[in-house]
Point group: C2
Chain length 313, copies 2
């Protein structure tokens, strides 16, 4: 059984206290108080991580679950080109969960938080009637008016993506097939790295017109950009950077949880082939028509359905 | 079954769109962007509402669950003396839940949001493996340095509480006993009203030295103030404003979810007997010793254990 609520909060508060940002006041009051530097806006994102939906205890070690849980929110901050500052963790735990599991979860969570100087500033603890439930809120800052939105893509813009796509789903399919995997050998799935530095670079050099992270899968995430920007796109299937798995093309087009950045830029902006250590690949262009099409090596175009992850689909 | 994720988000977005605050950007991007007026800090609080823990579908109508879910967060903003601005709703729903339930939940949630001009600025939707899970984040603003903290109580300060205590738990005990209740006849439990105007008044008139909301119960919430302020307290049992239920004294001392404000003030500050329509009652005093004691009508003192709500206790 986990420690009683008050002791558990004290234990997490102690573990989190060495991570400092210019924050204000964190755990220990009715609300956290965040100090926002002048000329900045506040970014807020929330993400569920639910046992049986987003992770499984038999597949994912607890420190990986803690890491992934926070990575989802950091990646959303990266996709706005922001700087993460504070995280809030709401955790509902079954009464029969060993405290050791909680400790390992918190270790993985705080290791990633430390890497980006993100303070654990609050949250909530509850007993869960069924399974482990985590919900995180990440708050960040961005210079006023400089957030890179989904809605900024224009016809003629070029579409880029960072890193490779499909590795996370490839690992998930191996887990589903019953394979025993060494988590450290599949870090893209177990310990994904949010592209904070890349997002910030694109903002500081005024390169990106629209941006999103590939959490649901390229086809679905590009749909979000096109919907919010009221445009379409043509994607060069052969150009999409894939991993080496057998089914690589499909995984890259529709697989989620890679947490790369998908962005658009005016055609006259020079985009480096590598930014903050991450390769950048040109994969297509934005069009006036609202459809998203996939171009094959023979030049033929077919509609690209949004076949990434969607709950209740 | 609930609507597919994208349609569900669109439906909630439409329902929420008439509520406007000076916000920035809400639903529709990787993060919400909040515009913070100069000279202000940001308040953030999060609260779980889990089926079987915080509510039951057979006891609570869906609009009451939506209302209570948001009220918890608004009450935390009230307890800092802040002004709520934006709310984020993370909702995990079982696949067999009727969409009608979701619509009613959202209606109750947004009715309360509208009352306080709080914008629904984002959140997350997921399938729940078991039961309905809601987690809310409320963000507010407060003039810099003016948040009323739990840590500001000093020996000699007077302890006050708003309204009456115990009504919410009294209703819960009737529900537990199998009574059928008319929700509109027991609004303190089903539709609690967060004390935003009271919190603000106390800040603007510089009256309160420390404050918390009575979400866990007087004995536990006072313990939080005393812990963070490193003080103790003597509470006059007969002075605690109770409801009319049979077991009124115990309910008032330990019952949670009344969402009243418990605050301390220097002895020389004149506290009105009613603020923003809510009666204010003097119930005790802060002491140097760290114990919390209950004073009986004969003058005898006994320790008051923190016997309010605690998960995993």
């Amino acid at each position: 059984m986990p420690l009683p609520e008050r002791e558990l909060i004290q234990r997490i508060r102690r573990a989190a206290s060495p991570i400092r940002s210019k924050l204000g006041r964190g755990i220990g009051d009715d609300c956290a108080v965040l100090d926002i530097p002048r000329g900045h806006e506040v970014l807020v994102t929330t993400d569920f991580s639910l046992e049986g939906v987003h992770f499984r205890r038999e597949w994912h070690p607890p420190d990986s679950i803690g890491h992934r849980c926070l990575a989802r929110g950091l990646s959303d901050i990266a996709a706005m080109a922001g700087i993460p500052r504070a995280v809030f963790l709401s955790l509902a735990l079954p009464a029969d969960l060993p405290q050791h599991w909680v400790d390992e979860f918190i270790r993985g969570f705080l290791n990633l938080a430390r890497l980006y100087s993100v303070t654990l500033a609050g949250g909530d603890i509850a007993r869960s009637p069924n399974g482990i439930l985590a919900d995180i809120v990440v708050s960040g800052i961005i210079p006023k008016g400089k957030a890179v939105l989904r809605s900024g893509a224009s016809p003629g813009n070029i579409v880029y993506v960072s890193g490779t796509l499909g590795a996370s789903l490839a690992t998930l399919e191996e887990l589903r097939a019953g394979k025993k995997l060494r988590p450290r050998g599949h870090i893209r799935h177990f310990y994904p790295d949010p592209r904070i530095a890349l997002g910030r670079y694109l903002r500081e050099h005024k390169l990106a017109s629209a941006m999103i992270d590939t959490s649901d899968g390229l086809s679905t995430d590009l749909r979000h950009i096109c919907d919010e920007s009221r445009v379409g796109a043509i994607i060069d299937g052969a150009a999409v950077p894939t991993t080496r798995a057998g089914n690589a093309r499909q995984l890259a087009l529709h697989g989620g949880e890679d947490y790369e950045l998908l962005f658009t830029a005016p055609a006259n902006k020079p985009i480096p082939s590598k930014i903050a250590g991450v390769p950048i690949t040109r994969i297509g262009a934005i069009t006036r028509g609202r459809q998203i099409k996939l171009q094959f090596p023979d030049g033929k175009l077919k509609p690209l359905p949004a076949a990434g992850w969607q709950h209740f689909a």
